[in-house]
Symmetry: C2
Subunit: 251 residues, 2 copies
DNA sequence: CGCAACTTTGACCAGATTCAAAGTAAGTGG
DNA sequence: CCACTTACTTTGAATCTGGTCAAAGTTGCG
C-alpha cells in the first residue's frame, strides 16, 4: 500500500472541466455549475498503486474521478481479494459509505489519477438546494448497482472464457465512453492478477484463459495492460448485451 | 411465470404502517409522513411465484415491500439464472431502472407479499419537496450497493461451504431485522434451487454442501425452506462480519 | 391415487486450483 | 551501462472442487 497522494498544485475549474466537453456526459444547467464549483473543495493526485480510501476507516470525502483509472476491492481475512468494480473519469467514489462515512471496501489507483474532492457533510446541503444534482447522485448510485448486477451474473454463471470476454469488453467500453483513451494509448492498465481477482479465478487459469482470447485475436497483452482488438466479438462471446447509455450525469 | 398480482382491497395507511413500529426502521419526521401518504398511489398483493417486474420492460412504478419476501434475478440467453438479491419488508424495489424506467432484471415474489406502489414520475417532485426523503432513497441505494459488494466477495472468493453459510446467515439476519419472522415461523422460504442460483453453484453440489451445514447442526431444511439454528456460527464459518445497522430509512 | 416439485445420493467427469519453475520486462543502484 | 531485483507472465503436471448425468426418495396437493 503506497502513499502517493498529494494535493494538486493547480486546480481545475469546473467551468473548464474536461469531462463536460465529452459526448458521454450531460451538461450542467442553470446555476448547477456554480454550485458544483463551490461544492468542490479541492483536488488530489495520486500515483498508480496508491490507496485512496481504506476499508473500515471513516472518510469525510466523496470523490469524482477526473482523470485516470481506479478500482474498489474487499479482502477476506486470509488475503483472498475480490475486485468489485473499476472507476473511470466521471465516476463518483465513496458514496457507499453514506451516512456514517465508514467505508467497507478499499479504493486504489490503477494508474496515475486526479480526483475532485467533496465534503461528505455538504451533501445534505446539496440535497436541499439542488434537487436536480441530488437526483443525479441517486442516478449514479443506481447505475453502479446495475453494473454490480452484471458482474454478479458474470461471476456466478458465466464460464471463465465468457467472464474474461465480458470484463474486457466492459472495461474497454467504459474507457471509450469516458474519454480516457487517447489516440496513442488504448490499453486497459490492468495486470492478469487484477483480472483474476475480478473474476474470481486463479491467476494461472486466468492466464490460460486470456491466451485463448489472444489466439482468437480478440485482445493483445502489451505495454502493461490489455489492448482490446475486437470489442464487439468479445461481447458476443460473453453473451453480453450492453445497454446504450444516454449522456450520463456526473458531479 | 405466474400472474398472481391483484390490487389490495384495503389499503394500509402510512400512519399505521406496521414497519414504522419496528425497531429496525427510522421514524418519519415533520410532514414526511403526510407526503409519503400522498406519494403512495396504491397497494398490490401477489402470490408466491408471481413475477412483479420483468427484465427489459418499462415500469412506471417503484415499490416498497410491505410484507413477504421477493428476489431479483437475471438470466442468460441459455437459461442460466443468477439471483442478485432478496428483498424483505422495508426494501425499495425498482430503483435501478432509474431515469428510463427500463428494468434490467426480473423481480419475483418468493412468498405471498404486499407492495406499496409509487409513481416513478413523482420522484422528481419528491426530490424537490423533500430533500430528507430524497436523501433516504440515496441511502437505500447505497446500502443495496454494499450488499451487492458482499455478494460479489462471496461468489468470487468464498468456497461453496462458506458461501452457503454466508447466504443463510445474511438472509436470517435480514429477516430478523425486518420483522418478517413471527414467533411461529422462522423459516426462510427458499428452495435449494434458489440457493444454487444465488451462489453460482449447481443444485446437486448445493444439496451436498447444505448437508454439511445440517450435520454441523447449523441449519435444518424443513417446511419448504431453511431454518437457521445458529446464525452466529454460520457467520463465523463464512468469515463474515456484518456491520451493525442503525435504524434504516424506508419510504 | 397420481402428479409435480423438490430433495437426496452415487458415479463419473471437467473446469479450475495449486504447486513448481522458468521466462520476460522494467526499474534501481553501483 | 550492467548486474541485480522485483513484478508480472507463461507453461506443465498433479490434484481437487464442483459440475453433469442418472435415478430414486420425499412431500404436498388436486
Amino acid at each position: 500500500m503506497k502513499n502517493g497522494k498529494s494535493r494538486a498544485p493547480n486546480r481545475t475549474e469546473c467551468a473548464h472541466c474536461p469531462l463536460s466537453k465529452l459526448e458521454a456526459f450531460r451538461r450542467f444547467e442553470g446555476d448547477e455549475l456554480a454550485y458544483v464549483e463551490k461544492f468542490k473543495t479541492g483536488e488530489l493526485t495520486a500515483d498508480a498503486g496508491t490507496t485512496i480510501i481504506v476499508d473500515g476507516a471513516h472518510n469525510a470525502h466523496l470523490y469524482t474521478l477526473l482523470s485516470g483509472w481506479a478500482f474498489r476491492y474487499k479482502i477476506l481475512e486470509d488475503g483472498r481479494r475480490q475486485i468489485l468494480n473499476y472507476a473511470v473519469p466521471g465516476d463518483l467514489l465513496g458514496l457507499q459509505g453514506s451516512i456514517t462515512g465508514e467505508m467497507q471496501h478499499t479504493i486504489e489507483a490503477l494508474s496515475p489519477l486526479t480526483l475532485c474532492v467533496f465534503e461528505r457533510d455538504k451533501v445534505t446541503d446539496l440535497f436541499s438546494k439542488h434537487p436536480s444534482l441530488a437526483y443525479d447522485i441517486t442516478w449514479i448510485a443506481a447505475r453502479e448497482e446495475r453494473i454490480l448486477d452484471e458482474h454478479l451474473l458474470s461471476i456466478g454463471r458465466r464460464s471463465a472464457l465468457e467472464r474474461s470476454a465480458y470484463l474486457l469488453a466492459f472495461l474497454n467500453r467504459r474507457a471509450r465512453n469516458s474519454g480516457i483513451f487517447t489516440t496513442k494509448n488504448n490499453v486497459i492498465p490492468i495486470t492478469q492478477q487484477h483480472v483474476a481477482d475480478t473474476l474470481g479465478l486463479s491467476i494461472v487459469h486466468t492466464n490460460k484463459t486470456l491466451k485463448k482470447l489472444r489466439e482468437k485475436k480478440l485482445i493483445e497483452w502489451r505495454d502493461g495492460g490489455c489492448l482490446v482488438l475486437d470489442e464487439a466479438r468479445l461481447s458476443e462471446l460473453a453473451g453480453w448485451e450492453h445497454t446504450d447509455e444516454k449522456r450520463r450525469p456526473f458531479i
